[in-house]
Structures are given as C-alpha cells and as structure tokens.
Amino acid sequence: VTRSGALNGLLVLEIATTTAASYCSLILADLGARVIRIEHGAAPAAGDSYSSAEARYLTLGRNKESFQVNLRSAEGRRTLSRLVTASDAVVCDLSMSERSDIGLSADEVSELNPSLIFLNLTPFGQSGPWIDRPASEAMLQALSGGMSMTGDPGGPPRRAWLPIAELCGGLWGTIAILAALRAREASISEGCDIDLSLLDGQVAMIPYFSAYYFLDGVVPGPQGSGGHSPTYGAFRCSDDRYVIIAVIDQAPWTRLCHALSSSSLLADPRFATPSDRHEHGQELRDIIERVFESLPVAEWEKRLQAADLAFARVNRLDEALDDPQVAHRSMRKHLPSGHEYVRTPITLPGLTGEGQAPPEIGEHTDALLESLGVGKEERSRLRAAGVI
C-alpha cells in the first residue's frame, strides 16, 4: 500500500471493536497513517453482525491492514508487543484489566515504547464510579442529557439515530492523538496514556445549553424540529415532504414574509419583533403551517432560495447522498473494489491519497510478520499452533 497524506509515516495499531475506536483510527488512516487492525477475538460466525462483509466493517475498515493473532498465547502476546514497540500510536477500547491480560498495561507499554501515544477510548473512561458499567449508544445519549433534548415537545425523548456519541468520540480521540503527537514532535512531552471517555465527549457537546443551565437553571426539554423560534424548524409541504427554515432575526423574517406572499403577517403587530413572535409562537406556527401545506417542497425550495433564507429539504439518506452539493464536494467515493463510501471530509491539497479496500480479516498477518523478520517456516509453526 503506498500512501500519501498529512499523517504519512505514522504507524497506528487498532486494538478495538467499538465504532468509536474504529472510527478514530479510520480518520487517521484516511489522513495517511498506516493503521493495522489487531484481530484477536474468536473468528466471527456466520450471521454475526461482525464480519468482513458487513457494512460497518466495510465502512470502518478502509485504508487499514488486518493482523490476526491469538492473544491467549504467550507467543501471540509477544508478537503484539513487537508491533507496539514499532508503533507511534495505539487506539484501544479495552478496560485496564483487559489490557493487563494481553500484556499491555500502562507500565508494560511505557517500557516497550516510551514515546508511544496510547489512546484508551471507553464508554466511561478509566476512572469514576461507572468504569465497568456496560454501555450502548442509546445509554450514552440518555445519560448525557442529549436524548432529553431530542424529540417532540411534550413527547417521549428520542435518540439521534446517527450514533453521535460513538462517532464524535472517534473525532475527540483523533484530536487527542494529534495533539499528543504535536506535543511529542515539539519535544514537550514523550509518549502518553490518554484516558478518553465517550460520556465526557458527549457532555462536552452541550456547551451552551449547559452554560444557560449553570447561569440561570433553565433545563431544556425536547427541541422538536428546531427550538429557537417559531420560524426555526420543520414545516410540512403539500406533497407530505418537510422543509426546514431557520429564521430568527428581523431581516430574514421580512424576507420570509415575502417568500410566503404574506403581507398580512408582516403587518401583524403580534409578530412584529423576535420576542413578539416568540410570545405568540403557536399562533404564528399555525398560520405558517397552513401556508407551507399549500405547495410542494420543490416549489418552497425555489422561493426560499430566491429569498436568500437558510432553508433545507429534510432529505432522506438516499436523497442526501444524491444531493448536488454533496456530489459536487465529492463526498461519495469508490474503492478499487467497487464499494462506495463517504469520505473523511478533510482535503489537504496535494496530500490526498486514494481509498484502499477494507482488508479481509487477517489479510496482512503474513506480510507484517515477514516485516518483523519472522520467516515462512516460523509462520507455519505459529499458524499450526493457533498463535496467528
């Protein structure tokens, strides 16, 4: 695999199965790092959600190599430690005790490779009362308060269907590794063992609602389709599709009234200012809902665009991926294998490589061992002994 990219020359091991950790190392791989996935669990059974043909694996596996090793054997652990010694960073979702079991406790790691950046990316982190609690995406969204802010006002809470706690955990993890790498390259630190928690990451993504709460005790409920203003949210059109508008201030409000061909709204004293509109929110929404229901979404798109307003059709996923702007920005890419994917949204001019197919599980085991100086005969022996 030839690579170019901003992170060219970095070697990263992924000892992980969670979306968060795999997404983190995917971003590093997309940016040019060489990422080796360590497969150490039992071989996936037919029908398991985890297999090399499944969408999540395909999506999160591109640009990575796969190394399969049995970490229950001492020899397998020794092989892993040789890879650790050669690496710049490790992305790991194991608990501290699981790390010890495979010979990668913090002490062992710093002895093997003092300049290693070891990222622990776990649901609750390596401290606090909940270290060992089982977790899921829905649970993280629920605990962080994010779920309580999602849904119809007065209705039940909903989770964001995108796994934002895990995916954004991957983003935080990438930022942590890059910051640590910068500190290392500027010689202001050596390696480090980073303890990053998905719950922390999710709580950090509530910056201003939490600031309001700390300031005046206001607890936000479900935000519906918008939440900031009666003219900030989704409206149903005559073809049963929805369009969102994001109008709060006076100038766009005036333009909105023109786009809705409603001079009476503009003249109505109940809706004169943003605070008036907020106060008479339900009345205003009722009126605007009726107007939007009179025309199909495509017509509203034209009118709202002509009025230079912030608007959008509420795309289904298929529409989103066919959206002209998404296409123009080349967000859809093909792997040489023909598989399609959405790319990492970072383009460094002159430093962008082509995507490589996700590996078959263990595809690179032999090549990697070879590069560690393990010869063919020795590899046959290791394979026969079930180490690799």
């Binding site: 909940w130 899921s136 709580v203 005790g217 994001a246 912030a310 991926l321 702007q325």
Partner: protein, 318 residues
C-alpha cells in the same frame, strides 16, 4: 461565554485599510488563521489565502462554512439545522407520522468544529515534517455531517436500505420506555435478553425463560416508577434531563464540569474539554471581554501607545 474560554480577544475593523494592515501583522506571527465566513468573504476583503500567504508563507489557512467554497449551494446561508436536515440525519429521528425532529445536540455545528480541529492539526503535522509549507483548508459543515452517516451510508450503498423512523422499534438501541412517573428509561440489551431480565425482575413465582414481547415490556415498565427499575436492572439508564446529567457522579468525578472566575467577577460553570493529556495542566481562563487583549497584542506586534491611540481614534480598533 461557553465558546470562548482560553482565548484572547482583539477588535479590528477589517474593512479599513489600517485594520487590514494590523490583521496581516497578526497573521505574520500566526501558525493558523481560521475564519467562518461564507465563501469569498475573506477574498473580497483582500484577506484570502493568497493574500495572507504573502505575509505568512507557512500559514495554515482554514475556512469553515456551511457548504464550503464551491458547489451549487455556495451562496446559501446555513446553520446547524440546515445541515442536519440536508444530511439525512433529521429524517431518521422523526416519529412515524410526525414531523422530523433534530438532534438536540447541535451536532452539525460541533462536529464541523471538530473536523476542522483535526484538519488543522493534521496540516500542522504535515508542515512540521516538511511535506507541505503552507495550506488552505476548505471545510464544510455539510461535508462533516455527511461523513458521519458513515456506516448507515455504507449499508445504503450495499443494499439500498434507507433508515426511516418506521423501521424503529428496537428497544435495545433506541426506544425509551415510559415509566409510571412519566420518566423514560433506556436499556442496554437485545430484545430477548431484555424480556428475560424484566420477567425475572418482576416475577414472583418460578422464573420463566421466555422473553416478554416489546409491547408487554412497555406495559411492564409503565406499571412502576423509574426509581423502581433503576436499582433493579444494571442495564437500565434514566433518560437524564440536562441538570441531572450535569450532576451525575461519573460526569463530576471526571472533571467535566469546570468553574471559571469571570473577568467581571463571579464564578461561572461550563462543561470542559474531554481531552486531557497526562503531564499537561490545561488552562482554564475566563472568556475574554470583547477586545480585552487588543492593546496587549498590538504591543506584541511592536505597535507603540501613541500609534494604538491613533488606531483607536480612527475606529480601526476599539
């Protein structure tokens, strides 16, 4: 307040010739120049990448806008809600037959910021190893949100399946169960496992190893208050309100709530940064007053007091 801690603040009129000159002086000392104007605004101010490169040959010049600097939507205004709607993310949260709702967390905006931080750090690394000398980063909120459709997009590309609220109903990974006190809980377990757990927890006689149906589960949970269920089932989590989330022992123990002495007095609380690198003591500085550091920074640029007074007099700085 929430978005400006640990920063300095300078006010500058970028439309004035003098303001541009001071801005370029600032850029000459900067590693990174970042803006979030719509495409073309910095160029029209003669402060675009090519202009800044003249004074800062090694600059990482990052722009973050809703749609990026090209494409059919380049002139359209955008905010978090627009990006959530366009990306398909919002269509996945609607309740059947009801309008779509947005993620309460402004993930379009915040993930856009995170992607940009990653891009900047990557560019700095490429610069430090000599593979680039300077670079322009054209970041878009919509690109970032599309990227987060990750394996849902992967699934769609494989078999054409489009996530839709009608397909919801998997209690293990999304549905919140209502309890008798009108609070909601979510449970980590697959359907069968959960059914058995609930049956065991509520069974008075012999344990039956058959799962409850989702409907039976919903009725069971609704028959008792949340504080009955929470201690009983380790895998049950209350859907926290924000105030509860911000007083969770785990959140506090991890130091995610930080307190800052504000410039104007008074202690303010915020949620902190989840990244802590061992050996570093991250700063916790007050959000600045607008323009608080103008004088200090002009002085660092070698501009003397009388010149600063003149610039202020002409409204270039304030």
């Amino acid at each position: 307040m929430a978005l400006n801690r640990n920063k300095l603040s300078v006010t500058l009129d970028l439309k004035s010739t003098e303001g541009k000159r001071v801005f370029k002086l600032l850029c000459a000392n900067a590693d990174v120049v970042f803006n979030n104007f719509r495409a073309g605004v910095m160029d029209r101010l003669d402060l675009g990448y090519e202009d800044i490169r003249q004074v800062a040959p090694n600059v990482v010049f990052a722009s973050l806008s809703s749609f990026g600097k090209d494409g059919p939507y380049v002139e359209r205004p955008g905010v978090d809600l627009v990006v959530q709607a366009l990306s398909g993310a919002m269509s996945m949260i609607a309740e059947p037959g009801r309008p779509p709702v947005r993620a309460g967390i402004p993930v379009g905006d915040l993930a856009g910021g995170m992607w940009t931080a990653i891009a900047i750090l990557s560019a700095l690394r490429a610069r430090s190893v000599g593979s680039i000398s300077a670079c322009e980063l054209d970041m878009a909120l919509l690109d970032g949100q599309i990227a987060l459709t990750s394996y849902l997009a992967g699934q769609y590309f494989l078999d054409g399946s489009v996530p839709a609220p009608e397909k919801w109903g998997d209690p293990a990974d999304g549905r919140a169960f209502r309890c008798a006190d009108d609070r909601y809980i979510v449970v980590v377990a697959d359907d069968d496992e959960l059914g058995i757990l609930v049956r065991k927890a509520t069974s008075t006689g012999s344990v039956v190893e058959t799962a409850l149906t989702p409907e039976e589960m919903a009725r069971t949970f609704e028959s008792r208050p949340s504080d009955y269920w929470l201690p009983l089932l380790e895998r049950v989590t209350l859907v926290n309100r924000l105030d509860e989330a911000l007083s969770e022992p785990q959140v506090l123990d991890r130091g995610m709530v930080i307190e800052i002495e504000h410039r104007l007095g008074g202690r303010l609380k915020f949620v902190g940064c989840p990244i802590r690198l061992p050996g570093f003591q991250p700063p916790i500085e007050s959000p600045p007053l607008l323009g608080e550091h103008t004088d200090r920074i002009l002085e660092e640029l070698g501009i003397g007091p009388s010149e600063i007074a003149r610039l202020r007099h002409h409204g270039v700085v304030s």
